[in-house]
Amino acid sequence: MINYFATKMERQIQQLRESAATMISAASDLKELDNVRVKILGKKGDLTGLLRGMSQLSAEERPKIGKIANEARAQIEQLIADKNAELKAKDLQNKLASEKIDVTLPGRKIHCGHLHPLTLTLNRVKEIFIQMGYSVEEGPEVETDYFNFEALNLPKDHPARDTQDSFYITNEILLRTQTSPVQARTMQKNPPNTPIRMIAPGRVYRRDDYDASHAPMFTQIEGLVIDKGITFADLKGTLDFFCKQFFGENTQIRLRPSFFPFTEPSTEIDVSCPICHGKGDCKVCHGSGWLEILGAGEVHPDVLKMSGYDSNAVSGFAFGMGVERLTMIKYAIDDLRLFFENDVRFLNQF
C-alpha cells in the first residue's frame, strides 16, 4: 500500500513535470506564463495539491518523495524563468520593431549663427600674428591727412596718392585710405625707438566704383615690426611663415620689387595659388599660379624719423594686406559684393 502511494506520487510528480513543461513551452506571452506558474506552483497549484498527499507516505519515503518534488519544482521554476526571459526578449523585440521610424527624415534644424567670413579671416590672421608676439592696434577711421599720407612719406602732390582716391571730409580730414596711419600713431605714442610688433586691422575707404573686385569700403591689415637689426630677410621669413599658416604648409611665396613711399626696399608678395597649386586653368589665379596678396617693405628712414624714431638705431619692416582678398582666395569667392550684401544664404555657409 505504502509503496503503492509512493510510486503513484512519484509518477504524478513526473506527469506534472511533463505537463508543466508542455504548458510553459506553449505559453505565448508573459501573462499566460504567469497563469501556468500559478496553476502549477501557486499556493493552490497542482504541485502543492499533489504534495498534500505526502502525509500518506511513510517516514522513510517522505524525504525521498520530498526531494523528488523539490527537484521538480526547481526544474519547473527554471523552465518558467527561461521562458520568461525568452518572452521578455521577444516582447522587447516586438516593441522595438513597432517603434521603427524613417531615419531618412531630416533632423530638426537649429538657427545657427555665423561670423562673417571677413571676421573669420581676420580672426585667423590675428591668431597667427598674436602667437608671433604681435599686439593688435587700432586707429580712427576718419583720419588726418598728416597721419594718412604725410607721416608715411606721401607729401601732397605725390603721384602715389593717385592710386588711393580718397573720400575727403575737409581738405585735411579724410576717411583713411589704408591702415598704415596706425603705424605712425603707434610709434608716436611710444617713447622713441621702443621696439614694436603690431598688426592693425580695420576698415579703409577708397573712392572706387563698386564692382566685383572693388568696394568703397574694405578691410586691411597693417603690420609693423621695429627693433634693432630688423632686416628685409626677416620680412620675407615672417610673411612666408604667415602664408604657410594661413593657406597651408605647401604654400610658396614670391617677392616682386615694387614701390611704396613708406618703405625701401619695397615688395609685392604673391602666394602660390592655394586652389590649383599652380597647375593652371584656374578661375582664381587665371592659370598664372600666383596671387598677389601683400605689399611690404623695410620701413623708410623718413617714416621712422617723422615719428621720432632714429633710423640709425633701429630698423623695421611693414606690410599691408586686404582681408577681402585673402578671404576670396581662401574660399574661391569671385565677387567682392557678396561680402557686403549680407545675404543670409551666403553668411550661413561660413
Binding site: 527624415l105 571730409i169 620675407k236 553668411l347
Partner: protein, 848 residues
Amino acid sequence: MQVSTKWLKDFIEIDCTADELAEKFTMAGIAVENVIHAGAGLEKVVTGKVSEIVKHPDSDHMFICQMDLGAGELIQIVTGAQNVKAGDIVPVAMVGANLPCGKKIAKGKLRGVVSNGMLCSADELKIEGDSSGIYILPADTPIGVPAAEVLGLDDDILEFELTANRGDCFSVFGLIREAAVLLNKTPHFPEIKVTEDAGKKAADMIEIKIDAPDLCSRFSARVLTDVKLGPSPEWLQKRLEGAGIRAINNVVDVTNFVMIELGQPMHAYDYDEIVGKVLNARRSVVGEQLHTLDDSNRLAKGDELVIADAEKAAGLAGVMGGFETEITEKTKTVVLEAAAFNAASIRRTSRAVGLHSEASGRFERGVNEKATVIALDRAAQLLQEMGACKVCKGIVDIYPNPKSAVKVQFTTKQINDRLGTNYSDKEIIDVLKSLGFDISDIGAQMDAEQAIDRISTAAKHFGKIAKNIAQAGLTKTFDKLIDSSGVKEFIAYEATVPDWRNDVTIMEDLSEEIARIYGYDKIPATLPKGSQQGRQSKTQNFTDKIKNILAALGLNEEISFAFTSVETFDKLQIPADSELRRAVPIMNPYENPLLRTNLIGSILENAARNLSRKNEDVRLFEIAPVFFPKALPITEQPREVLKLAGLIMGRRDPKGWSQNSAEVDFYDAKGIVEELFAQLSILNYTVEAGAHYALHPGKTAIFKKGREILATVGEVHPAVAESFGIGKKIYIFEADIETLIKCTAKKFAFENLPKYPAITRDLAILVDRDVSAGEIEKVIAKYAGNDFKSVTLFDVYTGDRISADKKSLAFTIKFQSSERTLKDEEADAAFKDILNSVRKIFNAELRA
C-alpha cells in the same frame, strides 16, 4: 608705357622670348602688366607664290592652286577666292595653323580635291586691308618666309605698369639700361649728332625766359628752319604705333618719338605765331584765357605754369600746347622745347584740367633735367635725316641752377644689415656700376661721427679702450688700426647717382638696387630676433566675445558700408532735432553723402534685401563704429563710437517637417539680449518700457543700469519697416559697446552648487492689465525673506475666462538656504508675506 621689343632690339641683343624678358623686368621691379604678341596665330603662315591656278572641275567658283612655298615641292591648295592669279604672292596658312580669326587649318578635300592649306585674307589674319579677297603681297616679297615678318607683325608689345618712382623707365633708353643689366649685354645707343646748317643762330631768333624758376628748372630750345611738313617715314610710324601713339606729322611725330626714346617730353611751336619771339615759363594770371590746341578756352586759376609769348599764354606747360602756335601745314620755322617742369605743379594742373597725357605722366614722375639738350639734338637729328628741316646754330638753354650730382655714402655692412644678406663689396659695387653709378672708395675721408661709429663697432677687436680713444677724437690712429686689422666691412663708399635716376638719394635706395638686381628670391627668409608679448586690447577681446555669443545665439554677423543719407534718417523717423541727424558729410561722396550715426538703417536695409530675395528668416547683428562730429562744419576728427545692432525676423525655428512654425516676437529679441548680458556678466540691470525713434511705442524696452542705457530692444515701428519695404514684423536691439564694457561685473563670482534642497511655491494672481510683471517680480524678491532664491514667471493669461481688464500671472518662487534644509512652514510664512504685499501693492487677487 608700352613699347615693342623690336624697338628695344635696335639697341640691345635680346636672346630670350618676350615673355621671358617681361618676367625678368617684372622680377626686377619694372613691372610688365601684359605682353601682346602681334603675330599670335601667324606661326604657321608663310608667304607663297601661286605657281599655277586652274578651275576646280566640280565647282564654278573654286580654284586649284599649286603653291610655291620656297621648299622646291609645290603644295596644292583649293581656294574660293576670285582675286588670285598666277604669280601672286600671298600669305599661306599651312596645315596645323591656328589663325587669329579662329580658323584651324587641317588637311582636307574640297569637292573631292585635296587641299593642304589655305590662302588668307586680311580679315583672316586680323590685319588691316581689303578683305574682299586674298591679301596680295608686293611682288618683291620673298617666298617661304614667315608672313608675320613680311607683315611687320613679328613683334611683341610690352605693356609696362611702372611704379611712381621710376620715371627713367618711361623711355626706351631707360628700359635698355635695365635690360642691359638683367640680360648682361652691352647696349649700343645711337650716336646723336646734329649738323647746324641753317646759318642763323637760334639765340638771335628766340628769347627764352624763366619767370617761375620754382616750377621750371630748365628750359632749352632749338630753332629749325625750312621745315617741310609731311608724314613720317613708315619705320617711325610703326615705332609710335607700337608705343600706342598715333602718327600725325613728321615734326610732332619726332617730338613724340624722342619722348618715348629718351623720356623727355617735347613741344614744337610754330615760330611765326610766337608774338615777340619770346617764350617765357611763368605762372598764369588769374582769369587769363588759355586757348589750348583742343580749341577750347580755359580760364587760368593763377598758379598753373604756362609757356607764354609776349602777348599771351601759348600753352599749359607739360600738359597741353597752345592753339595759335600749333604746328600746321603753313609752318615753316619751328621752335622745339625741351624743359624740366616741377612734378607737383604738372600733377596739379593735369588733374585740374582732367588731362593725363604721355608728357604729363613723365613730368609728374620727374624728368632728367640734364637731358633736355640731348633730346633737342636727337629730335633735330632725326628731322634733319628725314630732310625735313635745317637746324639753327646753338641751343638756347636757360638753366639757372644746374643740379649737382647726387652722392650717396654707404658701407656694404649697412646694405647687408638692411637686407639680411651677406654680399661682398665687389658684388655690391658691380651691381651699382652696371646700373650707371660711379663708386669711389672714401674709407679715409669719413666724417667724425661715422668714424666713431666705425671704431666703436671695431672695438670688439681692440678692447674697450678703443672706444674711449675713438670718442676722444683720435680717429686717425684708429683708422690705421682698422686698416691693418682687415675689417673690410668698414670701408665706406660714395656712389654718384646717374643723372637719370632721380629716385635714389639714400643708402636704403641703394640697398633696393642690390636686392632687386640679384633678385628678391635670393634674399634669405629669417625671423626677427628677440620676442614680444602678443595681445589684444580689452575692447577687442570684448567685441570678439560678443560676436561669438551672438553667433551662438543664432545670429549672423553682417558687415555694411559706413555711409548713409538724409533719406535714410527720414525713413528711420529720426526727429529733426536729434543728434543722430548731425552726421559727418563727405565732400566727394560715392553715393550716400554722410557717415552713419547709427547701425539701424543699414541692418534694416540688409533685412529688406534678404526679404526681397525670399530669405524670410533673417537674424543679423553688426558691430561697427558710428561717427559724431565734434563741430559742424567739421574742424577736427569726429568721435567714433562702437555700436552693436541686432535684428530678428521670421520663424522662431527654421522651417522643417516637424518644427514649430511660430514667428519670433519681442520676447525672442529680449531673450537674446538677456542671454548676451548673462554671458557678459552684466548683472543687476533693470528693464523698463521706453521710447525709440524707430520702434513701436508700446513694444520698446530699455535695459538700464543706474543712469546708463545698456540696450534698447523693440519691434520696429510698422511705418519705419514699411519705408524700408518690409511688410513683416521685425525686432531689433542696439547697444553701445563701451557702456557694456563699463557695466560688466568686475569680478566673476562663482556660485557653489546647493547642498540643501529647495522648496518652491507657485503664486497665481489676477492683476490689472497695465501692471508690469517686472514690478511684481521686484516686490516678490523684496518681501520673500532671507531664503528667497529666485522667481520665474511661467504663465501669462488674458482672455475669456477672466475679466477683460485683468491678466493672470503665475510665478514659481524658490526658497533655499545654503546652511540647512528649509522647513515647509518657513516657505509658507514667506509665501504669505509675498501674497500680502502683492495684494496690498498691486491689488492682486489670488487665483484658485
